[in-house]
Symmetry: C2
Subunit: 332 residues, 2 copies
């Protein structure tokens, strides 16, 4: 157990691409706790695309991350000291302690984890926010029916890989879009999608058309840009598009949608959503996902970078699509 806490603060708001010096590493004393509080040693930090939005000052779906404060982020860890009746030393907990080694809490925002069948860090991935995001967008917006075709962008990612596996379980033809042959291979071979289109191969529309002979009924959007336009050209009447992320435009690049006409021609429904606004659905979603992981029915991949110091580069890599599956930082 280290003697000091380490934290990454937001040092500056990015102008365009995120750079390592937008973050500042500081050392602080390990927090001391009062009656009714617990001290947690974080084991894993989750890195997620939503953090990019928080770094900007512009209007987004959530408050900006304040400058000079600890970067926001989900964590899992172990209680190392407790003066709280509901938590004991050794308990595994999910929290939002951010980019740091330790966190303390009066219990608010802390969830005790059952790690008997599900590893701790899965609660940051396919049994956590990314998995529940997949569950919500698929079940509440796309509402796929047996025999329909569902397409998922960023298909090898923490969200996309779950969307596809859940859609397969509903009897859909599932087509992923991912970057590069390695990711595409995993999408079909590991995650069991019917096909995967490599958007880097230069034949995006043609390949998507070949992979969706009956058109597209549901699309789970993580990316935006040319992938969205190619999908819009393939949408069937009454198709549904769940907009979960638009990572292609996160650095402020213009990202015009050329094929918007498809919304009218095909009477599409397009809906943006933020999973944290639908907490009512979390218990059901988490229970289903944990059951599938426990039974070995839901596959996932992780990219784990070692040590808090590696977080900025790992985050930048995530934004560039260098990770594979859920991006985690191991803190211990």
């Amino acid at each position: 157990m280290s003697e000091t806490n380490k934290q990454f603060l937001l040092a500056s708001r990015p102008k365009g691409e995120v750079r390592p010096d937008d973050f500042r590493l500081v050392e602080t004393p390990v927090p001391t706790i009062a009656d009714g509080e617990v001290l947690v040693r974080n084991h894993y930090l989750s890195l997620d695309p939503y953090m990019r939005g928080r770094m900007d000052e512009t209007k987004s779906y959530a408050a900006s991350q304040p400058l000079d404060e600890v970067m926001i982020g989900g964590t899992v860890g172990e209680v190392v000291e407790s003066r709280h009746p509901k938590f004991a030393v050794g308990d595994k907990v999910l929290a939002m302690f951010g980019w740091q080694l330790y966190g303390k809490s009066d219990g608010t925002g802390l969830m005790k984890l059952d790690t008997s069948r599900v590893p701790m860090q899965a609660y940051l991935g396919c049994v956590g926010m990314p998995g529940i995001t997949a569950w919500y967008g698929l079940n509440r917006i796309i509402e796929p029916k047996d025999g329909e075709t569902v397409v998922v962008s960023a298909a090898s990612g923490a969200v996309g890989s779950v969307v596809g596996q859940l859609a397969k379980r509903k009897g859909c033809r599932v087509v992923g879009v991912a970057g590069g042959p390695e990711k595409c291979r995993a999408v079909t071979e590991e995650f069991g999608f019917d096909a995967c289109v490599d958007y880097k191969a230069g034949r995006l529309y043609e390949d998507l058309k070949a992979a969706t002979p009956d058109g597209i009924d549901g699309y789970f959007e993580n990316v935006g840009g040319p992938v969205l336009d190619a999908v819009l050209r393939r949408m069937n009447a009454f198709g549904r598009i769940a907009v979960c992320g638009l990572i292609a435009g996160y650095d402020g690049q213009p990202m015009p949608v050329e094929q918007f006409r498809s919304v009218l021609v095909n009477r599409l429904k397009i809906q943006g959503f933020i999973v944290s606004e639908h907490m009512d659905d979390w218990p059901q979603a988490r229970a289903e996902l944990a059951g599938l992981v426990g039974d070995g029915e839901l596959k996932y991949r992780e990219t784990i970078s070692q040590g808090l110091e590696s977080a900025p580069e790992a985050f930048i890599g995530l934004l560039k699509g260098r990770n594979f599956g859920k991006q985690l930082v191991k803190l211990i």
Copy 2:
């Protein structure tokens, strides 16, 4: 009563803008009727933007208009001969006889009209397809709540003017977008909108912002293009956009949407619709609209061109926004 029928056929599919010689006027004998049929002399032909889509061969929401056949279109007229038990000479009827003076029917697709409180041609306008389109998009997609702000493009048109008046009755702040000071004046003074933005004045976004101090909760889209982008920048969280038409792109012009990010940032719902696919709602919508017109509570304007021969130019004018309110062709 003229001795011959006159008809406009589709002579060629437009390349870009519609031209008068895309239509061909022919004279044919007045149809003779058999037992169980009625002959109708059409009094008014409705001209509507959807006809532009039918003229193309490309995939749209409905079958293409076949070449060398009578142009599709809604009509109202009077039964002049009947061998059908349910229709008598003198009955006023709504039909889809298209761009011609006479039509015959076995009763299918014919609706007898009550013209005691509502003029015949209103069944082609605010008590007909355009009015029901307004009713459906507003009530079934935008679902406005008291105190919300609703924006309508093509606000002086047959659809837009009804959208705004219905939204006002629901307690909304209603802002129109229209082209030119004359149309804008009518939108506020005749139709009772709270404000109207003249998109031709060159300050679209600034004027829209000033007219929507609390942002925009619902948008009824008839136009697309720069108006849609300006609206997307003003949308509030959980806003709803009903996409009824995208007239700005009907001639095949590219119409990129720059501000698609707003869908995610503001968790918008965007939904395209075609009112003819929601016939279940027509009786309720038509009854409400007829009641409002009969009571003088729903205002409407008409642009009436005289004689079937004027239809092509009137239609081209409609596509260019030269009409004011419902575009009709008087056939008698």
